[in-house]
Symmetry: D2
Subunit: 384 residues, 4 copies
């Protein structure tokens, strides 16, 4: 039975919604302006998100422990944070490293032309992995924020890819040596803040994984906004990752094609694309986290931030209910059955070569996709 009524859209921990500390904590700085909101403490964020129905939070090392903290400070911070997690029941399913804010990473981290920077990036990541594991994270995201170039004169891309691979191999080795129960999820982005970032889409990242020493430890973390920046269909990329057993994490948000990284509230700009993404995840009962990597508009004060967080989860649940309706709609399902010719039977080469096809019929048949799409849109718009 389909749950009805508005409380179907009330997020609960079982829905596995997570937010990055950096997302609701985003103070609204942008390339042309200063922060517009005061920083929120990690502890306050956890409390509020728990109240709203989230399952957990994710973090970069420096979201929790500011760069330059002493060991004592770090321990105090982690202790307080662990306490609030215990108090609220919130989890930290994923952790990552900030390899982009420090000016030392101006030419990248794992692919900087300076070998000392590459080594420092690894050192920082080992510490961040330790922190993540301490907080219970089972997934470690690597986003190569500045792994790229403004001019191809600067780096031979083959050399850079080699550096990148060396780094991921080294990290996998470390996790194995520590017997951590941790998997890596690599996140692609085509550009910004670099002119061109290496391994720019989920596809390139997936292909790269097969060239690693331990491909079984590594999957992808596709992000709506990053794939949309390049104008690609996000659900297709996610389907490819799913099919390859490589969907280890996902970043939900919104983005217009061909623009700066907008990180809009999930479902706020392209509800149709969001619908087909939710359909894919729910149809396979994907067990991972529904992680929102987005932030409130810069026009907002703190109240607006929580509107944003609540709206993100609520829209997911609205779309999830629509997926159930789509799957249960007799007319839509009938159209899908009629069109589907069934699984291609594998025949012998000789048999195939001698097969006769009624080309005249194949040439004139229609697929009723206009009708199918119209019914889908009406369902999405709530008039069906």
């Amino acid at each position: 039975m389909m749950r009805s009524g508005k409380d179907a859209y009330q997020p609960r921990p079982e829905h596995h919604f997570t937010f990055g500390l950096w997302t609701v904590g985003n103070p609204g700085r942008d390339p042309f302006g200063e922060p517009v909101r005061p920083a929120l403490s990690p502890v306050a964020i956890v409390r509020k998100l728990a109240e709203l129905g989230a399952y957990g939070v994710n973090l970069h090392d420096n979201d929790l422990v500011p760069a330059g903290s002493t060991a004592t400070e770090r321990d105090r911070i982690v202790r307080e944070f662990t306490q609030v997690l215990a108090d609220t029941g919130m989890k930290v399913p994923m952790a990552t490293t900030n390899l982009f804010s420090d000016p030392a990473f101006r030419d990248g981290a794992f692919t900087s032309r300076d070998a000392r920077v590459r080594a420092y990036a690894l050192q920082k990541t080992l510490a961040a992995i330790d922190l993540g594991v301490e907080l219970g994270a089972a997934t470690y995201v690597c986003w190569g924020g500045r792994e790229g170039v403004e001019t191809n004169a600067a780096k031979d891309p083959r050399t850079a890819l080699g550096w990148y691979r060396d780094a991921i191999n080294y990290l996998c080795e470390y996790v194995r040596s520590q017997r951590y129960d941790l998997r890596f999820a690599l996140e692609a982005k085509p550009n910004e803040p670099r002119g061109d970032i290496f391994l720019p889409t989920t596809g390139h990242m997936l292909a790269f994984i097969y060239t690693l020493d331990h491909p079984e430890m590594v999957g992808v973390n596709p992000e709506v906004a990053h794939e949309r920046m390049a104008g690609l269909d996000f659900s297709h990329a996610v389907a490819q990752a799913l099919e390859a057993g490589k969907l280890f994490h996902i970043d939900l948000n919104g983005q217009q094609i061909g623009r700066f990284d907008q990180d809009l509230r999930f479902g706020s700009d392209d509800p149709k694309g969001a619908f087909f993404l939710v359909k894919l995840l729910e149809d396979v009962k994907w067990p991972g986290m529904r992680h929102f990597d987005s932030h409130a508009y810069r026009t907002e004060d703190e109240a607006g931030v929580w509107d944003f967080a609540a709206g993100s989860m609520r829209t997911y649940l609205i779309l999830k209910e629509k997926v159930e309706r789509f799957n249960a709609d007799p007319e839509i399902q009938q159209l899908l059955t009629e069109v589907d010719g069934g699984k291609s039977a594998r025949v012998s080469f000789g048999e195939l070569q001698n097969m006769n096809f009624d080309l005249a019929a194949l040439r004139k048949r229609g697929y009723a996709y206009e009708r199918l799409d119209q019914l889908t849109m009406e369902l999405l718009l709530g008039v069906r």
Copy 2:
């Protein structure tokens, strides 16, 4: 009172929906493939669209009268077409010229480097204007299909703009000389089939109009797909045209940003953008035609074409009803009132220069746009 129930979405002539003969008549040829559907006769198109609830049809000269027809053939075709219009009550509110199919226009029509082609394009347009007026059209659309370049080495853009202006001035002069009751609507497009088309957006076209001999006779025909190809917000362009009194016609369809010209079914890819467009047109009770310049997917047979046509009108009416809800929603309207600081009172320079502002308050206030947008999306998704 808001009309309720599903028949609110039943198109009727009073809704002023029109289709181009070339839209439902599109046989599905594309750069990589042959036609997939037989041609539909103009007479058959008019009958079927009347049945579906449309108000009228629009046409290029050669959509009705094939290139190379004799005067006798032309007259017979026009007579039969006029008859079916009379039979069905359908109108022809807009006409235009095909200045792009003939290989003679390979370098453009009004801006071809060959002066003979420029003259021929004018001659063909005069005849098409006569035809349009004969059929009752009050609006004449000029779409500069091939007015552009692949290489800027070929044309000085100032020269080309001069040729373009000469042509439009000449056509205005002709309409005046004939005392036709006809206005021009110029249609912009950024690229395709040329690498770069002159006057690539509604903005550039609007600006160009002010440099004509008779700007009062000329407005714009913005097209969703053309503005979206360049990643621009369509409703903003339409608002600018409306505000300037220059929205003479409009082309409704759908399009993903940064792609080939898709001419998708209106509302099928970006319902939020479509909603704000409908809001703009309905809020001002714009009296013009809701013209669909789009075509069915190439996967469709004729049945799919009519699904496409019916869906286009139906989606417009669904969105129109949502606009009424938006305007009547107390919570949404409250948010808009709270935020709006009212009309800027015009004060003297001295008064302004001595004004004190509570900058601290202005810096921290929020605008509640996340909440406003979430409510809008929920209304659009039919759960509000």
Copy 3:
């Protein structure tokens, strides 16, 4: 005679090269990272640019006078700055206002939903105009950094355009009341930092000007990067502005289509586009400033900043020499002559309607644009 030898590329004040204080002074902050370079003082910038051969500098009010300065501090700063201008012979041909850094402008300045913000933006601009005029500026640029929206639910675009117009009209009135010899140049940008910015291209901005109270005081300031973000041909936009007598200023830089605002070194990413732009400006001997609105890659230290500045000017001069070669190249000019059918003679309607065209010939003739473009590219690559 064409100047030969490498010193043809040595910038001199007569070339009218200018830089914004904010361009060479850019400390390399971006959405994902902190500044990488210390701030340079305006005085130091002027000295260094003079040494490199520039003509002048341009500025936002707060580039020179930090926000919150007292009147005394302001006067001291302006005095010292005026002194270094006198010492070096450098000019300040253009000034503008920073209406985007302060969190008060989070929802825009002239189009903020808060009427107090709109008033404050005007107050700040009047002061900045006074400063600009004091420094000798003859052009005042208005870039509507945040004049836009993330969601169209927030603002009716017609209302926003009305506020925008009121603001520009008010500023024009102020300049007239003060009898300043100052013209306004409006700068368009499609997006970033807002989701969609009003009047997104040079075309839209040009059209808007015609609706102002004093259109003769207002022109445009097209920027390469802003037009390229939308995938439009920049030289076409500049040609339209030139032709309309509205090219009051220009921003030279580089940008890949469909990305965040890159502000690359002029000519560094699209030399062909840069060539045709220089051709346009030089062919008409445009008297304005060649202003570079760009910044060094974030990988650079201060030495890299000056490499960037010197390279910007040098590339312009290299392209300028290539324009002379293009105009003097007999084979290229021959191809242009052959193709050009001459000015379209304006004939009477009757004459035109009776004209016979050799359509078979027009349909099969070629335009030799592949050859023309290949010669152009070879000239550009220096092998011709």
Copy 4:
């Protein structure tokens, strides 16, 4: 020694330049217009290309043997074609199948919803493989022209990827069963003629290969235009394929970002991108074909087509010479040495964790990329 003088740019068979029959044979039809050039016979194309210095031609089955030919006609056509190859010494290094022109493929070939179409597509491909092998082809390109959707309602992308994989596995099996010496090169494209095409970039295609039954038989055929449509850096994609041993073929042409598929003359729109691509191929002495998959502007007659073909090859050779200069330029090479910190030495985890970094130094060092890029541009523009 670097070859000097203009004849360095004279193409010869040893340069391995190839053209598709469909490229120089393109009659200039587009979505808005009819063909502008008569068809050229394959025999005439081979003769002319041999004369211009090409190494060979590539073909779709129906480029040579029209659809619907009888077995006798096919044999005659192949015989005559083989004869002209022998006469001229031209080769056919690559072949492919036309799976997009026939209306039967309106919903795709290997991923059509109709199982009969999927089977017919395989049957047609087996015959085309036989033809390709008969003509001596060692590489078989698969471009999934219509393998995609306009609406995601139509196909579950996981199902579609499964069909795609089944097809390629079947074809590999066939080649093995025939003991053909043939490898497959899969070609990605993001969109056009479908709204979204499956496996939209070289990265997605590479990743897909690892999931096949015989990945060793399958590589990629990256195309400049297809990767650029999505705004991605082409040389990075090629580097990834090279590094993975998967660059089996390449399609050279030109394209502006975010537009319809332009297939421009190689090097004509983005000489910097073309330079870095040539650098990559020449630096590794890649042994494959330099295949041009592009066509003359539609403004051209047959003479323009040959200008286009000659220019394509000539530009490659001009850029190749510039690569040699870049590699030999002492100042450029010095900058690359200075910046490069050398190969990252792999240290033990404990050693790395205890390493001290001079962060202050790493934070302020510059990379001199502005200078490096300026020198590269001057070399490219021929003034260095």
